[in-house]
C-alpha cells in the first residue's frame, strides 16, 4: 500500500521528466545518428558522420575553451558568492538582502547583457568617462574577449551560487567558529577547517548551478565575446541555423548533455550520506537550470 502511494507522489515528477527532458533528449539522440539533410533537417538513414565530424580539431579546441571558461567562471562565482552568502546568513535583515539578490531576475536576460554592453562597450559609459578625462584618447576595448565573457557569466550566475550557499550557511551553527577560535585556530583557519567542510553540500550545489549552465552558454559569448570566445553553445547554434548540419548539432548537444549529466551524478554519488542537499536540488533541477539558456 505504502509503496504504491509513494509512487503516486513521484508520478508528476516522472511525467515532467518524460515530457520535457527525456523526449527531447531521445529526439536529439536519434538525430545525431542520422544523415544530414541538404537544407537542414535529417535524412532517415543511419550514419556516424556527425560523431566523426565532431573530432574536428577546431571543435575540440572550442570544447577545451568552453571547459576552461566554465571552470574559471565557476570558481570566480563561488569565490564571490561565498562571502555574500555568509554575510547574508549572519545579517539581521536577511529578507531584504535576499530580495536584492533576486531583483536582477526581474529583468530579461538579454536586457542585462545589453546593459553590460552599455557599460563596457566601445561607446559605453566607462569609455565615455575615459574620453572625457583624457580627450583625444580612443578609449579601451573591454568587450569581445574571453575575460569580458567570464565577467558577464559570473555576474549572470552569481545569484544561482549565492542562494544555495546562503541556505546552507544559514543552517550552520556559528558557535562552531567560536569553538575553533577558542581551540587555537586563526579566523582564516576557522573558515577553512570548520565552515567550508560543513557547507560542502552548498558549495557543490552552487558549483553545479553555475558550472552546468555556463558550460552550455550561448548568448553571453555571442554578444559579449569575440572570435576567441566562441563556446560549444555557439557552435551548436551555428550548425542549426547557418551550416544546417542538424546531426552534428545534435551530436555536440548530446555530448555536452551527457558529460554534464555524468558530472552531476559523479558529484551526487560522492556526497557523504549525512549531508542533505540544500534546496533539495536533485540533479535534474541543475540540468533544467542549464536548459534555460
Amino acid at each position: 500500500m505504502k509503496q504504491r502511494a509513494g509512487f503516486l507522489y513521484t508520478l508528476p515528477q516522472i511525467l515532467w521528466l518524460l515530457v520535457f527532458f527525456l523526449a527531447p533528449l531521445c529526439i536529439i539522440i536519434a538525430y545525431s545518428f542520422l544523415k544530414k539533410g541538404l537544407y537542414g533537417g535529417v535524412e532517415p538513414q543511419f550514419s556516424l558522420e556527425a560523431y566523426q565530424a565532431m573530432a574536428n580539431p577546431s571543435i575540440l579546441m572550442v570544447a577545451w575553451r568552453t571547459l576552461r571558461i566554465s571552470v574559471i567562471a565557476t570558481i570566480l562565482t563561488i569565490l564571490i558568492a561565498l562571502p555574500c552568502g555568509y554575510s547574508i546568513a549572519r545579517s539581521s535583515n536577511q529578507a531584504i538582502r535576499l530580495f536584492l539578490v533576486i531583483v536582477p531576475f526581474w529583468t530579461n536576460f538579454l536586457v542585462r547583457i545589453y546593459a553590460w554592453i552599455a557599460i563596457l562597450g566601445n561607446e559605453g559609459f566607462i569609455n565615455d568617462i575615459i574620453r572625457w578625462v583624457a580627450p583625444g584618447s580612443a578609449g579601451i576595448q573591454f568587450l569581445y574577449n574571453q575575460w569580458a565573457v567570464v565577467l558577464v557569466l559570473v555576474y549572470m550566475y552569481l545569484p544561482y551560487a549565492i542562494l544555495p550557499l546562503f541556505s546552507t550557511i544559514d543552517k550552520f551553527d556559528f558557535t562552531l567558529l567560536d569553538a575553533a577560535r577558542d581551540l587555537g585556530a586563526t579566523r582564516f583557519q576557522s573558515y577553512t577547517r570548520v565552515l567550508l567542510p560543513n557547507i560542502r553540500s552548498g558549495l557543490v550545489t552552487a558549483g553545479l548551478f553555475t558550472f552546468v549552465p555556463i558550460f552550455g552558454a550561448y548568448a553571453v559569448p555571442l554578444l559579449i565575446g569575440g572570435k576567441d570566445s566562441y563556446m560549444l553553445g555557439n557552435i551548436i547554434a551555428d550548425q542549426l541555423t547557418k551550416t544546417r548540419n542538424w546531426p552534428l548539432a545534435s551530436a555536440i548537444s548530446m555530448t555536452v548533455t551527457l558529460s554534464t549529466t555524468i558530472l552531476v551524478f559523479l558529484v551526487a554519488l560522492r556526497k557523504p550520506k549525512e549531508q542533505k542537499w540544500v534546496f533539495d536540488a536533485d540533479p535534474s533541477a541543475a540540468m533544467s537550470a542549464a536548459g534555460g539558456r
Binding site: A180, D182, L183, G184, N198, R200, E274
Partner: protein
C-alpha cells in the same frame, strides 16, 4: 574543591569594573571579580543575567566597553581567543560535526602542527580521562548527550589551558546524568588542577562543587563567597531567595545591643535576630530564616530564657518527599512560612503533623540573618 594533592597549575583572573552593553541594553554593569589559581569558581544567576557575556569576555570572544580583564596579572584586552590560555566548553557542546571524536579532540593539536605520534598519545590520554577511548572513531551525531559533553571537555583540555571556561555544560543533560557528570567534572578538576570558571543557573550544582560562587543578577555581581557563606549569610534578599528556599520577615528595628537585635514585624509581633549589621534602631530591615532551621511542634516549646522566636499557625500544606516533609504553615497574621523537617529519627516518637494541624514554629535568633536594611 581544592584538594591538597593536585598541583595548582591554573591562572588567576581579575575582572575590574567591566561593563558591556548590547545597543541600549546593559548586559554587565561594573563587574569586579577576582578568581584565584586552581579555583573551581562558579558564576550563578538566573537566565539572562549576563553570565555567558562575562564568560565570553574572559574567553576573548567579545571586548568590554569599560574595565579591564587580567590573567596572571597581565591585561588580555584585545587578545583574540586563540592567544589566551583559556579554553571553553560551550553550552551546546559545539563539536565539529564533520570530524570524528578523535579528530575533534585532535583539532587543537593539528592546528598547532603537533607531530602525529604525540597527537595520537595525547588524544588517547584525554579520551581516557573522560572514558571515551572506545568511541574515538564515532561522529558526534552518533553520541549521547553525556558523551558529547565529555568530548567537549576532552577537546577543551587537550591544549592544557590554565583556565577552563564552562558555560552551563550540563544544562542539556537529564537530572540523573547531570549529577553524575557534575561529580566527574569535580574529579577532573582535581586531576588537572587548573582554574575552572563554571557558569550555571542551578544553585544546587554551584553549591555542590564550587570553591567560591559569584551570584549575579541583571548584569551585576551581588555577592561572592564560599557556598557556605552564600547560603548561610546571603547579603541581599535576591541572593537569599535565589539560593535554596527561605522565609523573609520585614521588620522595624526597635532595639539593638551589639549583635542582639529586636524588632517588630507587622501583624506578627516581636522578632529577635542576632546578626552583625550597621542597621540602627528605627530602620526597616529584612530578616531571613532557612526552612530547615525552624522546628515545628504541636506543643508550645519552652524558650528557657534563650533568644528563641516562637510563632503560631496552621499547616496549610504538608508535602512529603521521602527524606523530609516540607510544611507550608499559615501564621495567624496570614503570612506563610516554609519549614523542612528531616525524617531522621522517627524512633524519638515525634508525633506526625498533618494538614490543618495547629502548630508552633520555633527558631533561634542566631540562625537569622539580616539581608537588607533601609534607613528611615
Amino acid at each position: 574543591m581544592l584538594h591538597g594533592g593536585a598541583a595548582v597549575k591554573g591562572s588567576d583572573v581579575t575582572v575590574s569594573g567591566v561593563s558591556k552593553s548590547f545597543g541600549a541594553f546593559k548586559a554587565l554593569k561594573d563587574v569586579t571579580l577576582s578568581i584565584q589559581k586552581g579555583e573551581f569558581f562558579s558564576l550563578l544567576g538566573p537566565s539572562g543575567c549576563g553570565k555567558t557575556t562575562l564568560l565570553r569576555l574572559i574567553g576573548g570572544f567579545e571586548d568590554p566597553d569599560a574595565g579591564t580583564i587580567e590573567i596572571d596579572g597581565r591585561s588580555v584586552l584585545g587578545l583574540p581567543p586563540d592567544k589566551r590560555h583559556c579554553n571553553t566548553v560551550f553550552q551546546s557542546y559545539a563539536l565539529f560535526p564533520h570530524l570524528t571524536v578523535f579528530e575533534n579532540v585532535a583539532f587543537p593539536l593539528r592546528i598547532r602542527k603537533t607531530p602525529r605520534k604525540i597527537i595520537d598519545d595525547r588524544v588517547m590520554h584525554y579520551l581516557s580521562l573522560v572514558q571515551l577511548e572506545m568511541h574515538a572513531g564515532k561522529k558526534p551525531s552518533q553520541l549521547s548527550g553525556g558523551q558529547k559533553q565529555r568530548v567537549a571537555i576532552a577537546r577543551a583540555l587537550i591544549n592544557e589551558p590554565s583556565i577552563l571556561l564552562l558555560d552551563e555544560p550540563l544544562s542539556a543533560l537529564d537530572a540523573k546524568l547531570r549529577q553524575h557528570m557534575l561529580m566527574e567534572l569535580d574529579s577532573i578538576h582535581d586531576k588537572v588542577g587548573i582554574t575552572f570558571i563554571y557558569v550555571t543557573h542551578d544553585q544546587q550544582e554551584a553549591l555542590s562543587v564550587s570553591d567560591r560562587i559569584a551570584v549575579m543578577n541583571a548584569g551585576e555581581v551581588l555577592q561572592v563567597g564560599s557556598p557556605r557563606q552564600i547560603y548561610e549569610n546571603p547579603s541581599t534578599e535576591f541572593v537569599a531567595r535565589f539560593i535554596g528556599e527561605t522565609n523573609i520577615f520585614a521588620m522595624k528595628i526597635t532595639g539593638k545591643e551589639g549583635v542582639h537585635i529586636s524588632g517588630k514585624v507587622a501583624g506578627i509581633g516581636p522578632l529577635l535576630v542576632d546578626d552583625e549589621t550597621d542597621a540602627q534602631v528605627g530602620d526597616e530591615a529584612l530578616a531571613t530564616i532557612r526552612p530547615e532551621k525552624i522546628r515545628i511542634s504541636r506543643e508550645k516549646p519552652q524558650t528557657n530564657g534563650g533568644r528563641i522566636n516562637i510563632m503560631h499557625g496552621v499547616v496549610a500544606e504538608p508535602i512529603y518527599s521521602g527524606f523530609q516533609t516540607k510544611y507550608i504553615v499559615r501564621l495567624d497574621s496570614g503570612m506563610t512560612v516554609t519549614v523542612f523537617r528531616q525524617h531522621a529519627n522517627w524512633s524519638e516518637g515525634i508525633p506526625d503533623i498533618d494538614w490543618k494541624d495547629e502548630v508552633y514554629l520555633s527558631f533561634s535568633a542566631a540562625d537569622m540573618v539580616i539581608v537588607e536594611r533601609r534607613a528611615t
